[in-house]
Symmetry: C2
Subunit: 254 residues, 2 copies
């Protein structure tokens, strides 16, 4: 009899944004696999085992978790944010797809979480209030020319764009290049939100015009949201400005 394999998301790091469903999975599991800083967000009992690994070892981690689950252990694979968005749920599915047939019998339970773009959007207003997309800027995951093509097409489509993995030490120039591409398609005054560590003590939210957006405003903990031509900024005197995308596009606005 196989154990259960939970794949959970902690949300962006604010404990108040982790769902009861994910917390119940943590109580039920006895062995935990994940990137160390994500495992640090959990309160584990002394009998619960922690198997931390590097952020780049996702497929190996998925395989190790499946190997333990198949022996009857209840296992929990931990992602930040939502496990289905550029995270461990896809790695676990890839491992099942390409692994031994008995892995298909594992009782897989994925618990959704608050993904970064939703947490950032909530802190600044409602920039994702109409059609939007989530694009990973990591060219470790796909060739750069596919990324450029996707950015052009979604900007032409008028979607708000949430960029995941915008920048890292190993990928320093991609975000600046993305801004260049988008400046060819979108108006200069489109708001760009740099949402860092939303909901955590070290949160930092800044807004720039696309014309002025500077890639150095982002780091690895940042989700960058680029508005559409419809996205608006509400200036407030006593509070930070709000950014939102209206629910409607009128005929005349085309």
């Amino acid at each position: 009899m196989s154990g259960r394999l939970y794949v959970i998301g902690t949300g962006p790091g604010n404990p108040a944004q982790m769902t009861p469903e994910a917390l119940a999975a943590v109580v039920d599991a006895t062995e935990f696999f994940g990137y160390g800083p994500y495992l640090d967000r959990l309160s584990l009992r002394p009998d619960q085992i922690r198997q931390a690994s590097d952020n780049r070892e996702e497929l190996d981690r998925a395989k190790a978790a499946l190997e333990r689950a198949i022996t009857g252990v209840n296992v929990c694979v931990v992602s930040g944010g939502d496990p289905g968005v550029f995270a461990m749920a896809a790695a676990v599915c890839e491992a099942i797809d390409n692994g031994p047939s008995e892995w298909r019998d594992v009782d897989l339970v994925v618990a959704p979480g608050i993904t970064a773009m939703l947490a950032v959007a909530a802190r600044i207003g409602a920039p994702l209030g109409h059609d939007f997309c989530a694009v990973s800027l990591s060219d470790n995951l796909k060739p750069w020319d596919i990324i450029e093509n996707r950015l052009r097409l979604v900007a032409e489509a008028g979607l708000v764009i949430a960029l995941y993995n915008p920048i890292s030490k190993a990928r320093p120039w991609q975000l600046g290049k993305a801004f260049e591409i988008l400046r060819d398609v979108l108006p200069a005054e489109v708001p760009v939100i740099f949402g860092r560590a939303a909901g955590r003590p070290d949160e930092r939210m800044t807004v720039a015009r696309l014309a002025d957006a500077d890639a150095s405003s982002a780091d690895m903990a940042t989700c960058v949201i680029i508005g559409s031509a419809e996205t608006r900024v509400i200036a407030r005197e006593t509070k930070p400005d709000l950014v939102y995308t209206p629910r409607f596009i009128k005929d005349a606005a085309r």
Copy 2:
């Protein structure tokens, strides 16, 4: 002194998917504005006031909530799913943008929630494991030719597509037409997920090939997720099939 205006999401309807942050807002507020079925998901005290309104009266509801908050009442505006995704956070921002200047002083707190596509994705594997978009199919919100253009562009871009508001009594043909448009761009075997009431007792999840996808499989409570050419189905004998989009696109896959 203005009251606080919370805008919360209940998640898709499974109480275990509502965040502690949203639950804390419910405890703190004394007056609740929302579509009746969403308010029904909350456990309110006798001293808490319920102001239910029809689903189509979003802007009026936002204005009414702001009017109460400005008098010093702590108010809670309730959405299903995430309040920032095709929901009340944008309506509240619209009302502030176009309303009296004192509304800008209201202490606005948006609490994110699990939006439908994340809940559906979790139940079926990881279809949103790589780049994806969320598009509302409601032509009450924007002209139909904009929707057609967006669908073509995002399919050409290779994004997985989550369709919100896919069908209703007043909009019976739009989803079938969307499938027609996507069949011109995407392979016949692309998986289409009809995710109804994810995580609720009346949940129903079905998967079809794009070539065979039938709009009558969807209703108002359904989020439809259309895979990309990369999206894969894992057949399982003892469990429902899994659908996922791999994290990587190799050079050769172009």
